[in-house]
């Protein structure tokens, strides 16, 4: 299984990758929303979960989420927002736009691992 990590922070990408490594999941990284959509448009079948930051330069994570969920080829890929936007209105907006899960920064590695497992279980239809 492969996770696409979308975050403009290399430190956050490393933190998330470390959790994926523990779960024995392979990863691919995008440093902004535009790069993420390029990867997904070319290789959407290889991606089993997208972990998406919200506040990024260029295209926001919310805009990327809307594009993924309005694209027939990509919309079945589970998306988890991983963001500092912890306010109820942001969570509701993301869920309405199709987010499958939501994790507020800061988080512990245990919390992240548990959320990833939750998402993969849902999306993988195991």
């Amino acid at each position: 299984m492969k996770i696409l990590i979308v975050d403009d922070s290399s430190v956050m990408r490393k933190v998330i990758k470390a959790a994926a490594d523990v779960l024995d999941l392979s990863t691919e990284e995008a440093q902004d929303g535009i790069e993420a959509l390029e990867i997904l448009s070319q290789r959407y079948e290889e991606i089993d979960l997208v972990l998406l930051d919200w506040n990024m330069p260029g295209k926001t994570g919310f805009e990327v989420l809307e594009e993924i969920k309005s694209n027939d080829k990509m919309k079945s890929i589970p998306v988890m927002m991983v963001t500092t936007e912890g306010h109820k209105t942001s969570i509701v907006a993301a869920v309405r736009a199709g987010a499958d899960n939501y994790l507020v920064k800061p988080f512990t590695i245990d919390e992240l691992e548990s959320k990833i497992v939750e998402c993969i279980g849902k999306g993988g239809g195991a």
């Binding site: 922070s9 290399s10 430190v11 963001t83 500092t84 936007e85 912890g86 920064k105 800061p106 988080f107």
Partner: protein
């Protein structure tokens, strides 16, 4: 509760909670002078809301390396320059996010904007038209992180 009088505590709590969650480092209020011998790294975020302000989170470069090392599990000596910048951007970002939650439904609620970093030795930040300043230093005896919020 008068939120204006609680702001310093809210940002202090937010910063210490964020650092503990991401690194396991437990910071406490510290009144000692910071060491000016090293380059300082300052994470900055505009707080855009009914009360417009700015949040500054500052640490010396060696302390940022230690924090980053705890976050990503890489030895301190192998922490790269861009990771130092990213660590402080994320730190101010998460601190602002955590404070924002605590300030929900108050006049001090704000939107999260893109954080950025200022670096240099013995940096002074001068802001005009300040109506309120809250600041503090948190330390575990090993690393020290300062915050300043201005409105």
């Amino acid at each position: 509760m008068d939120i204006a009088n609680e702001l310093g505590q809210i940002y202090s709590d937010a910063l210490s909670e964020v650092v503990y969650t991401v690194s396991g480092i437990k910071l406490q209020v510290d009144c000692r002078e910071s060491n000016k011998d090293f380059d300082e790294v300052i994470g900055v975020m505009y707080l855009q809301g009914n009360k417009t302000g700015m949040l500054f989170v500052t640490a010396n470069e060696p302390d940022v390396k230690i924090l980053c090392s705890h976050m990503i599990g890489t030895p301190v000596a192998e922490i790269e320059a861009d990771e130092i910048d990213d660590t402080m951007c994320e730190l101010v970002n998460m601190t602002a996010g955590s404070a924002k939650l605590r300030l929900s439904n108050t006049d001090y609620m704000f939107s999260l904007l893109q954080p950025f970093v200022i670096k240099g030795k013995d940096v002074s930040i001068v802001t005009k038209r300040i109506t309120k300043v809250e600041s503090g230093t948190l330390s575990d005896g090993n690393i020290s992180i300062r915050f300043k919020v201005v409105y």
